[in-house]
Amino acid sequence: MKKKYIIRKLLTAIPTFLIATIILFSLLHIAPSGPVEIMVRSSGKTMDPGMIEELRSQYGLDKPLHQQYFRWLSNFFTGDLGYSYVTNQRLNSILPEKILLTLELVLVANVFSVAFAVVLGVIAAVRKNSFLDNFLSSFALFTYSMPLFWVGLLALYVFSLKLGLTPVGGVTSLGKDFTGFAAIADNLYHLILPASVLSLAYLAYYFRLIRSSMLDVLNKEYVVAARAKGVKELAVIFKHALRNALLPLITLFAVSLGFVLAGSVVIETIFGWPGLGRFLVTAAFNRDYTALLSLNAIIVIMVLFANLVADIACAYVDPRIKY
């Protein structure tokens, strides 16, 4: 039963993946000027048209578009991500590390923000309209509406430059060869500020979702019925209400992965965190077709995977969902 359900979900993911990558591919080619033109322009030299043509054919850019797409697709599925025109490196050798770095940042930020959002959201909903609720809600609205890059720069200025508590950027301390435990500690030391800024942004978003979902559930009749049984208030909140309040949010968490990755683009750029986000920005400026396509395809797969996990989790915790 469950296996069938998962296979069905996986099969529906295939057309989604194809459509998403075709749209991406088309968008890239609609954008004016290609990678060769940009390379030539940024080098500042003039190059004769013959040379440009030669470079284009060398990269396969003179082929019809559908051929280019299918070549990329078959390569992608045989595990060959292609070649970055800009860095002159095989993507297979540079992307895995970047993916891991981004996942580290995003996952740590997410775990913290979800944990805090659940606690604060529940408190705010239970103490609706209290001073604490008003304070938390206004604070959430405030951080939610502040541009992420601005918060990032501010944090960098205060904590790194003025107070000297955290490093200015990067993943590890340069010129120091830590091993084992020390290396991990050094990495976490670099992670703490970008992850905090990022989780502050998610926190506001998740807090608002959890608070409103919880408020909705606390008015349900089964919550009153639980109290009428003599259930303690804490158990009413966590056993009877919270589970129901989190159900609609599981899917929302998965859907917001795209939004979460977008946030990491900004943070990675500000904090010099060499993950996917920063690479994506550089690649976009240079029309690095293959890199953009492969990278975005990976992101599409991550989002689809998160959705699959959410579907399975929902079916697991909500008895009303049929496989």
Partner: protein, 330 residues
């Protein structure tokens, strides 16, 4: 006397003003007795029931009165002591079983919870055995298999049986049944009413049966309290009430008993609606809809008068000058 509610005042402090959902309500329940609580929707029946359990939601508050249960005022109890009463000594069955069962917890979990809290039974096996026993009592077949079911897997009638099982799982002394059948269809309604009556007699249970349908009252209650706009307007034994209704509102309710099998939620025979309970003013609240209302009804609040043993009415005219024929004419 098991329960003696006197001068209960429960108000909702809304943005539009203070809603007096229960305004000096008196009612009593003897041991083993069924009290019917009747009135159109919005009259404050649920408010009274929830007040007894002290579960009035914000922005509501019990602002006055006494709720004596076994000679102690529930309003004096600590939260902790009150929790020991809820589901154990006094339990409640709600109107809509689909909404009052938790969708993500199994039937076994939800019955077992009350047993675990109040009966000091900790072993899963023992809890389940008791749950099976009580499910059998409320007429659920294959009770052992039902424990693993989730509410959505059961029909509305079954769900209400489960709610009744939960309510009775700790042998309460008083059951508050808040329109327990009004969301069910007619045949199921009859089954559930029968079940409640049987259980009530077997267990010598005291009960407050809330309904807007006097037909239900006739079948199950010993005494009746009629509420209108947050106030008690009449209280009598079932026989007295049906033979000699004194309040024009009660008379109208009796005329509105459906002859067909269809229940009604508002009384079409009386023009008008339940008035706003915000600032009701000093007058008989029923006077705008009353055919026999006079000047005095519009300027002074009628006092409750005991006209017979067990028969109390709050009406300036006690049913009107031509009361003798009042409720019998068609």
């Amino acid at each position: 006397m098991l329960l003696n509610v006197s001068d209960l005042q429960t108000h909702f402090f809304t943005d539009d003003g203070v809603v007096k959902a229960a305004d000096y309500v008196d009612l009593t329940v003897e041991k083993g007795e069924v009290l019917g609580l009747v009135g159109e929707s919005g009259c404050g029946k649920s408010t009274v029931a929830l007040s007894i359990l002290r579960l009035i939601p914000k922005p509501g508050k019990i602002v006055g009165g006494r709720i004596e249960f076994l000679s102690q005022d529930l309003l004096d109890l600590s939260q902790r002591a009150m929790r020991k009463i809820r589901g154990n000594e006094i339990s409640m069955v709600f109107q809509d079983p689909t909404a009052s069962l938790n969708p993500v917890l199994s039937v076994g979990d939800q019955i077992g919870e009350a047993i675990r809290i109040h009966q000091n039974v900790k072993k899963r096996k023992e809890i389940n055995a008791r749950a099976v026993e009580i499910l059998q009592k409320v007429g659920i077949s294959d009770p052992r298999d039902r424990l693993a079911n989730y509410p959505h897997e059961l029909s509305g009638g079954m769900q209400q049986r489960v709610m009744i099982a939960i309510a009775l799982s700790c042998q309460p002394k008083l059951l508050l049944a808040d329109e327990p059948t009004s969301s069910l269809d007619v045949t199921i309604e009859a089954q559930i009413l029968n079940l409640l009556r049987e259980l009530q007699q077997d267990l010598e249970l005291s009960m407050i049966m809330i309904t807007h349908d006097l037909g239900v009252i006739a079948e199950i209650s010993d005494r009746v309290t009629v509420m209108y706009a947050g106030q008690r307007v009449e209280s009598a034994t079932v026989t007295q009430l049906f033979e000699n209704p004194l309040h024009p509102y009660t008379q109208a309710l009796l005329e509105a008993i459906p002859t067909t099998e269809h229940a009604v939620t508002t009384i079409e025979t009386i023009p008008g609606k339940v008035p706003s309970l915000v600032n009701p003013g000093k007058r008989c609240l029923f006077s705008p809809r009353c055919e026999i209302a006079t000047e005095v009804c519009k300027s002074t609040l009628p006092e409750s008068k005991r006209v017979e043993e067990d028969h109390i009415v709050a009406c300036h005219h006690q049913g009107g000058p031509d009361r003798s024929g009042g409720c019998h004419e068609e």
